[in-house]
């Protein structure tokens, strides 16, 4: 393959757009995204793609295999020069008779706004009871550079998850660890220093001030479905939200966030720090040990919020934002845009784990509207969409989608305009256009952050094997006797 320009004589017109993989047609891209390398699926013996826009030199890419790998520098120059404009991909295919055919151009749009420069994600094979390789990685979105932040092999093949940040800033990072050898705790990295907190944080939301974090504790259980598309299912037999203050190194449990008769999870702060949004559902089973719990398929979470006064460290009363009764669905994973305007969440038929629910779709609520109108985003597919995050300028979202067949989660990026309309999403670009065709791992929990994580992987690795430097007392005790877990889905204290 070469990107040297080749001259083409007469061309037939195909009269249609080419078929390419991944689908990078009609998408809106940031100027600082890596090249959208793709593969032309229309049969031919040679291919020429010309990428052009109003300003700047067109990029010509020639290929014999159909794989189009766009030069990085030229790509960025072209996109940067054409913010707010369309770019066109003119695809030409030479057939066996050496006749060139030109397809209708693929039109994409370059947004004015950039996307955050780094994506942090969890990378692993579809998870059942056992695993071997789980890692949290960071990827520079302007190119393809990917590096490990922390891998399970650093601490005896353990599991790690629930990475979260303060806003979209990379300075503060928390990651939860689960390890039979080194214990289940949480790493807190701040300005390059790593502490190990002797508590297992679940889903975590940092207050914008960075002074405290609200995290869930979940008695998670996994079970399976004898039939149907998705084999796995997850239920929280019990859950609650706790609040950890960094300075005091203490955990507290506000009453409304740890109701014994309800399941609280998925905290999310408003950007001004005045409200904590979270999901809450009534516990529909008497026995909190039986798996699967009775009525597991009737659990539907409400979306609630509770006021918080940071100056006085006081909590208000919980209030309903959107009820499951109103929607008939389970409302999960609230995330508020950094400008405070929109609330992005997902809804599925039941339960607490949307990534295992093909019915899970993304919705957006306009918090500025009087009646909190919400609508389903057009980015959804027939499979699960979930694990979404905002960029710091509130114009981009990254989310997990299983649209490639229903099993493998990939990260998609979508532009959200000022009216809350999400544009056609595109899969995270890769150097190899065929990368996703045989990728057995999933990209999970994509988080957009404004820059690379500075804490060194070796420090995180050392901390993952060290003893806790902070051991806050947990204000909630479990009703069931403590027992060593036999699998990663069982809660440990």
């Amino acid at each position: 393959m070469s990107c040297r320009p080749r001259a083409i004589g007469q061309c037939r017109e195909a009269g249609k757009t080419p078929t390419i993989s991944p689908d990078y047609a009609g998408v809106t891209v940031p100027a600082n995204i890596a090249p959208l390398n793709f593969r032309i699926l229309d049969a031919g013996r040679a291919y020429l793609v010309v990428i052009r826009s109003d300003q700047g030199q067109p990029i010509r890419v020639f290929s014999k295999s159909g794989q189009v790998r766009i030069p990085l520098r030229d790509w960025h120059a072209l996109l940067d020069a054409n913010r707010g404009k369309d770019i066109f991909f003119d695809v030409h295919v030479q057939d066996a008779d050496r006749q060139w055919t030109r397809f209708l151009p693929i039109a994409n749009t370059v947004a004015q706004e950039d996307i955050d420069g780094t994506l942090v994600f969890r990378f692993m094979k579809p998870l059942y009871n056992w695993w071997r390789q789980i890692g949290v990685y960071q990827r520079t979105l302007a190119d393809y550079d990917t590096s490990v932040l922390l891998h399970g092999r650093s601490f005896g093949g353990g599991c790690l998850n629930c990475h979260s940040f303060v806003g979209n800033k990379p300075d503060t990072l928390s990651i939860a660890l689960r390890s039979a050898t080194h214990g289940s705790d949480t790493l807190l990295a701040h300005d390059g220093v790593v502490d190990r907190i002797g508590a297992k944080w679940g889903y975590t939301a940092w207050h914008p001030s960075g002074a405290l974090a609200v995290y869930s504790i979940n008695k998670v259980t996994q079970f399976f479905h004898a039939g149907g598309m998705e084999v796995r299912d997850v239920a929280d037999l019990d859950s609650a939200l706790l609040c950890y203050r960094v300075e005091d190194r203490k955990a507290t449990s506000p009453k409304d966030l740890a109701d014994k008769d309800r399941l609280e999870t998925y905290p999310a702060w408003s950007p001004d720090g005045r409200y904590l949004y979270y999901c809450s559902a009534p516990i529909l089973w008497k026995d909190r040990n039986t798996v699967p719990p009775e009525n597991y398929d009737k659990v539907r979470y409400d979306l609630r919020r509770i006021a918080y006064d940071a100056a006085r460290d006081q909590w208000g009363r919980a209030e309903m934002v959107l009820s499951a009764e109103q929607t008939g669905r389970s409302i999960l994973l609230p995330r508020i845009s950094p400008d405070g305007r929109f609330l992005l969440f997902c809804m599925c038929d039941y339960g607490c784990f949307p990534v295992y629910q093909p019915s899970s779709d993304l919705y957006i609520m306009d918090l500025a509207s009087a009646d909190r109108q919400f609508h389903k985003l057009s980015v959804n597919s027939e499979f699960s969409e979930s694990w979404h995050s905002w960029s710091s300028n509130s114009r981009w979202i990254a989310f997990s989608s299983k649209r490639q067949g229903g099993l493998f989660t990939r990260t998609y990026l979508s532009y959200v305009d000022s009216e809350g309309i999400a544009h056609k999403p595109f899969v995270l670009p890769q150097r190899d256009p065929t990368y996703y065709d045989s990728l057995l791992e999933t990209y999970s929990v994509p988080e957009l952050v404004s820059g690379p994580i500075r804490v060194s992987p070796s420090r995180l690795a050392h901390a993952s094997r060290s003893r806790p430097s902070v051991t806050p007392a947990i204000p909630i005790t479990g009703a069931s006797p403590k027992a060593a877990p036999s699998d990663p889905w069982k809660e440990r204290e």
């Binding site: 692993m124 094979k125 579809p126 998870l127 059942y128 009871n129 056992w130 695993w131 071997r132 390789q133 490990v148 891998h151 092999r153 650093s154 079970f223 399976f224 479905h225 004898a226 039939g227 149907g228 598309m229 084999v231 796995r232 299912d233 798996v291 699967p292 597991y296 398929d297 490639q404 067949g405 229903g406 099993l407 493998f408 996703y436 065709d437 045989s438 990728l439 057995l440 992987p457 070796s458 690795a461 050392h462 094997r465 036999s486």
Partner: protein
């Protein structure tokens, strides 16, 4: 480099140089040993049985997939490149002859490197002791383990040590730097095992042959420290864990090995360093002794002058020489004899046959097995073979049985082998989601596993998820052995499947559980099988397995409850074991049997009456005789099994 005082026992460097002819000489017996080893490995061990054990019976066997991504992942851990190479070579085990060639070449490599070390240490006839690591390796293979990774790690350590010795660097700083570099390279490529061997051998050479305390005390610890730092900061794994990787004391390396095998594994690592150590010590002592004995030696030489030279080549010496040459073969034979286990090969053979669907072979194998022992996995394969040959409701009790064998319920935590076998049988039964779960778990715990990928490809097609199937099959295309299957299925997705493939999909699909019933995977066997029958009453496998479950657990009432299902199938009359179970059922309730109505044959009924009559004569004084008669005449019937809780086998 001029050495110091010979009186101190330091061997002059000129003596460190071994004549090229010695380095290149292969004695005929040396080659004969490896030739015989090849024949034995090829025809007796049959390495393709080891291939079929990869990932299951040998859960930590190295995997291999083509492409840069897999290579990059392997290179990201210490010893990963050796594992990668081993994985690539292991694909050759698919063909027994090729696997035998690879094993012998690996043995030759390690033997040759050992021989060069020993020759350099002054042992002129070094071939024999040099064979010890190869002997250890071949004996480990005879036990159906797979020590290729440690063999390569050891070979690399031997090679690096030889290279360092050959360099003969004069400058201390350069020597230290070279030592550190080789240690780091060895660690990255071959893990802690290579590093250990390199460090130990280099220390032995440096101290005993060169009196080089500087290298021993500075460079070697520095090399280990560099490896530690690489582990902690480059590979991001604990230093201790990294240094133990591929080392003889690593628990991963010794998993599933009994004490004799562990000893052999240690011998693989330790034989050459020990031999070099002894050779150098012996050489140093000899030099000292010769120096002290010089005047005496002159006198003895005068005496010896009159001894005819011919006496030194006496027949005794030739016999001793021949015996020594045959020693490797003798050691190997003794090792094979001491380690023999008549059940070891059948175990892996059964696994291989079941993977290949060679059901008749499994039945033949089980007929030859000792009657007083059984293995749940072999039993499981047997039951499956009986089903596929149409003999399950007839011949089940002709073999020793383990009730857990049906769906391998004997383990608290499912082993990889259990997962694979259950995946296969669940797929056949139509329990497709559980098959998917098991295959996915197998895949999640391995970097690459062709059989699981293949199963997941089939499952995704059956469930109507072609895009997911493509991902699995595209990944499977990187598997050297399974590539053809992947391409066939991908072609099928694009252009249509063959009639056989389509028939298979249709059959499984017709049995597939469709309701999204929540399960944990620990449901009772009969409950699962009954649910599958509810889904499709014509699921013959589920029916026969359900009945087998009831037979094995003595639930004759359940046999009676399900006997009506025979009408859903094409049996020519009621199968014998079901007849016998029904008679037991009627007998236990003292019910009258309407032969015509029940479909039980009169001869079966007569046999039952005879059994009952003979059994009723059982008394303490004639127990042996009556039992012997019952075993002879009714040992393979359900009557006997139900009465005595076991199969009556002679």
């Amino acid at each position: 480099m001029a050495l110091r005082n010979e009186d101190k026992g330091v061997v002059p460097e000129s003596r460190n140089r071994v004549p090229t002819s010695d380095l290149l000489t292969f004695s005929p017996s040396y080659l004969l040993f490896f030739a015989l080893a090849f024949v034995y490995l090829w025809l007796a061990v049959e390495p393709h049985l080891i291939y079929y054990s990869f990932g299951t019976i040998l859960p930590d066997a190295p995997q291999f997939a083509g492409g840069w991504a897999f290579l990059r992942d392997c290179a990201g851990t210490p010893g990963g490149l050796v594992a990668y190479t081993s994985g690539w070579l292991s694909q050759g085990f698919y063909r027994s002859w090729l696997g035998a060639v690879e094993i012998v070449l690996a043995g030759l490599c390690i033997a040759e490197l050992s021989r060069r070390h020993l020759a350099r240490a002054g042992l002129r006839r070094a071939s024999i002791p040099a064979c010890l690591p190869a002997i250890a390796m071949f004996l480990i293979y005879s036990q159906y383990k797979h020590p290729l990774i440690p063999c390569l790690a050891v070979s690399l350590g031997l090679l690096l040590s030889l290279v360092f010795e050959r360099w003969a660097l004069r400058q201390p700083l350069v020597r230290i730097a070279a030592c550190c570099l080789l240690a780091a390279v060895g660690f990255c490529i071959g893990g802690g095992g290579t590093l250990l061997l390199f460090v130990v051998l280099t220390a032995i050479w440096r101290l005993l042959a060169h009196r080089d305390w500087l290298t021993t005390c500075v460079a070697l610890p520095a090399g280990v420290a560099i490896a530690w730092l690489l582990a902690e900061y480059a590979f991001l794994i604990p230093g201790g864990q990294a240094l133990a990787s591929l080392a003889p004391f690593s628990p991963v390396l010794m998993v599933g090995m009994d004490t004799p095998l562990k000893v052999l594994m240690c011998l693989l690592y330790a034989a050459t360093p020990l031999a070099v150590l002894l050779a150098l010590i012996g050489r140093n002592l000899l030099v000292r002794w010769k120096h002290k004995a010089k005047p005496v030696a002159k006198k003895t030489k005068a005496k010896d002058r009159h001894i005819p030279a011919k006496r030194k080549t006496a027949p005794l010496w030739a016999f001793a020489k021949a015996s020594l040459s045959a020693l490797p073969i003798a050691l190997m034979a003794v090792g094979l004899y001491l380690g023999r286990d008549e059940l070891r090969k059948p175990y892996v053979l059964s696994n291989c046959y079941s993977r290949q669907g060679r059901w008749d072979r499994i039945l033949d194998l089980n007929r030859r097995l000792p009657k007083d022992r059984n293995n749940p996995f072999v039993n499981h394969d047997l039951i499956r073979a009986l089903y596929h040959t149409g003999r399950l409701p007839y011949d089940l009790f002709r073999y020793p049985l383990n009730p857990h064998a049906l769906l391998l319920t004997h383990e608290q935590r499912e082993s990889d082998l259990t997962q694979q076998k259950l995946c296969n049988i669940f797929l056949e039964l139509g329990h497709v989601n559980m098959a998917e779960k098991l295959a996915s778990e197998l895949l999640a715990t391995k970097s690459h596993f062709g059989p699981a990928l293949e199963k997941l490809g089939w499952i995704s097609i059956i469930k109507g998820h072609p895009e997911t199937a493509r991902v699995y099959l595209n990944a499977l295309r990187r598997d050297l052995v399974h590539r053809g299957t992947a391409e066939s299925l991908l072609r099928g997705l694009d252009r249509g499947f063959t009639p056989e493939q389509a028939a298979y999909f249709d059959r499984i699909h017709s049995c597939m559980w469709e309701q999204t019933t929540a399960i944990t995977g620990t449901e009772p066997v009969d409950e699962t099988l009954t649910a599958l029958l509810e889904r499709n009453p014509h699921n013959k496998m589920a029916f026969e397995y359900l009945m087998a479950c009831h037979l094995l657990t003595g639930q004759v009432d359940q046999i009676a409850k399900n006997i009506h299902r025979l009408a859903d199938f094409d049996y020519q009359g009621m199968p014998t074991l079901y007849e016998e179970a029904m008679l037991v059922y009627y007998g236990s309730r003292q019910m009258t049997v309407d032969l015509a109505g029940t479909g039980i044959r009169p001869e079966t009924f007569q046999r039952y009456l005879t059994f009952v009559r003979v059994q009723s004569t059982l008394q303490p004084h004639n127990q042996q005789d009556v039992l012997a008669r019952l075993i002879r005449d009714f040992g393979s019937t359900y009557f006997f099994y139900y009465s005595f809780g076991r199969v009556g086998l002679q």
